[in-house]
């Protein structure tokens, strides 16, 4: 594809993933040498309806957003989900553990019924439209993002790891968080982030979503070895894995 036109759209999210794109600093100019941005609300005033690649950040939480994302899908040749909110629903899905009236009341109290505060259970972008590529993570790893962009421009299928974070964690020479009696989600979480959290002494909380075949059952079985309970594990799995297939097993 010769210099595709790219548009970036955001839905319910913290915009941290777009920030990661800005954080490429000078490298952003290199990215602009292989793609032409035609719409990017956070960084520029131009807007366009013609684009080859649509990059979508954020979760879908309102019926009107569902319509908007469908329209974007119709126009785009390639659709990329950017970041956990878009790929899995991210933390936004924690909301789905409650009833919608309940969350509205918790946050807006007596005003909860006002129409503009309407909300629906959070969906990932893939739950609404077909997603061609996923850039996982909360926030994304911007190196992985540019790798995917270059792959697309070259016509190459990007290779996204389907092995756990432990692989990258070990390559970075870390001591396992379990040795300190902490619950780390590294063993069931898809790698590709280069394990920044365990490398900084914090457990992996699973922001990239699960590997294809996560052994959540094994994780349950070892909890007592580390003085933890299955409930502790579930609670952590919920953060980014709410209503993902394996959390409730």
């Amino acid at each position: 594809m010769s210099k595709p036109r790219v548009a970036i759209f955001d839905f319910a999210c913290c915009e941290g993933c777009q920030l990661q794109v800005v954080n490429l600093e000078e490298e952003l100019l290199d990215v602009l040498s292989v793609v032409t941005p035609v719409e990017w609300r956070e960084a520029m005033s131009e807007q366009s309806e013609e684009y080859d690649i649509a990059i979508i950040e954020g979760s879908i939480t309102r019926p009107e957003d569902e319509e908007r994302v469908k329209k974007i899908r119709e126009r785009a040749k390639i659709l990329i989900a950017l970041g956990a909110c878009a790929t899995t629903g991210g933390v936004n899905k924690l909301k789905n553990n409650f009833g919608m009236d309940e969350v509205r009341t918790i946050v807006y109290g007596k005003d909860a019924a006002m129409p503009h505060l309407n909300t629906m259970p959070t969906k990932s972008v893939a739950e609404v439209v077909k997603v061609d590529y996923m850039v996982h993570g909360c926030p994304i790893n911007n190196k992985e993002f540019t790798y995917i962009v270059r792959c697309l421009v070259m016509g190459k299928q990007p290779v996204i790891p389907n092995y756990p974070v432990c692989v990258e964690c070990k390559m970075r020479g870390n001591v396992c968080r379990y040795e300190y009696g902490e619950i780390c989600l590294g063993p069931v979480t898809r790698a590709g982030c280069n394990a920044p959290c365990p490398s900084a002494g914090f457990w992996c909380f699973g922001c990239r979503g699960y590997v294809d075949d996560p052994n959540v059952q094994a994780a349950r079985e070892v909890m007592d070895k580390y003085g933890k309970t299955v409930e502790d594990l579930k609670s952590r799995l919920l953060l980014f894995g709410s209503k993902q297939e394996h959390t409730d097993e």
Binding site: R150, V167, C184, P187, N215
Partner: protein, 341 residues
């Protein structure tokens, strides 16, 4: 070859002298664990360490290294290496390096490894404190009769320092005038060795290592594979921490002109789900149990069939690294042996 006796202060002076001239990666503390990292001062050295988090193989086959560069002019080899000293390698890790030497030199020699190896001066140091899971004593690697360039052994409050190669001899040049270790020191060193052979057995292997290939030969359908693998995350931690594991993946990266780039090799592991997957979707080791078994067979039989050495040196890192606690080779081999009786 010289054998010297150095008091701790003299050892430090010697190391500081080396630091003036060469890059040294020495064992040092990181929090409550130990790692090999670039040494700034001799007093950072912790020769009393139990085990390093990452095996020293990382300095010979790094987790990620560039093999080739490509661009307008086609491909060119990249062999990036400069002389360095690896200070404080335990005997079992040295034994593992000796195995890697064979693997990368035989048949089709691998210049990327061999160049680094050629540039490495390795100071082996006898174990002072046994780690939580070490069983090198069972594997015959608690003490190493030869291998490495210098051997440092703590005897009493001093160190016996012995050169084991010309390169080691050169490293010890600056301590040429230091006192020679006497018969008593050597006797004490021997006692340390005897002690280590007995002590580095936190797990007791009930068969002799030489018997493992024959034992495995008969155990292909043993229920233990399925039973344990149920709990496997396919996370590869056991592979990646292992000093004798060297499997790798190769990948290309390109710059923004989409022409120039590099071909890199990165650590890989046979426990990972897609290790034997081919395009089209056929996975030759699709089941966890198949991969789990493969690892033990590779360590205990396949590599032995090729090089006559068991590819486990008993460092115990995999036992610690495995979150679900199923990666203990001793437990598995003992279990297989049990059935034989």
């Amino acid at each position: 070859m010289s054998i010297k006796k150095l008091e701790p202060a003299a050892l430090n002076r010697w190391v500081d002298g080396i630091l003036q001239k060469q890059k040294v990666y020495g064992i040092q503390a990181r929090g409550d664990k130990f790692v090999f990292d670039q040494l700034d001062r001799a007093d950072q050295l912790r020769l009393d360490y139990d085990v390093s988090v990452t095996a020293p193989k990382a300095f010979l086959q790094p987790p990620c290294e560039t093999l080739l560069r490509f661009g307008e002019k086609g491909f060119e080899s990249v062999v990036e290496s400069e002389p360095f000293v690896l200070f404080g390698v335990h005997p079992y890790d040295m034994a593992a390096i000796l195995q890697m030497d064979v693997v990368f030199a035989e048949g089709n020699p691998d210049i990327h490894y061999l160049e680094r190896r050629k540039n490495a001066t390795i100071v082996v140091c006898d174990v002072q404190n046994a780690s939580e899971n070490v069983f090198a004593g069972c594997m015959g690697t608690a003490v190493l009769e030869s291998g490495g360039d210098v051997l440092v052994t703590r005897v009493g409050s001093a160190y016996v320092v012995e050169s084991r190669s010309a390169r080691g001899e050169a490293l010890m040049e600056t301590i040429a005038t230091a006192p020679v270790a006497g018969a008593r020191d050597l006797g004490e060193r021997k006692a340390v060795w005897e002690k280590n052979r007995k002590l580095l057995r936190r797990h007791e292997l009930k068969v002799k290592p030489e018997q493992l290939p024959a034992l495995l030969e008969k155990s292909y359908d043993h229920p233990v594979w399925e039973e344990k693998a149920k709990r496997c995350f396919s996370c590869g931690s056991c592979n990646l921490v292992c000093p004798t594991c060297y499997c790798f993946n190769v990948r290309d990266t390109v710059s923004y002109n989409l022409k120039d780039g590099e071909r890199e090799r990165v650590w890989d592991g046979c426990m990972l789900a897609e290790f034997a997957l081919v395009a089209g979707g056929h996975n030759f080791r699709k089941k966890k149990a198949e991969r789990y078994r493969h690892r033990y067979y590779r360590k205990g039989k396949y590599l032995h069939d090729m090089h006559k050495q068991i590819a486990c040196v008993g460092c115990g890192r995999c036992i610690t690294a495995c979150v679900t606690k199923i990666a203990n080779p001793v437990e598995i081999y003992n279990r297989l042996a049990e059935g034989q009786k």
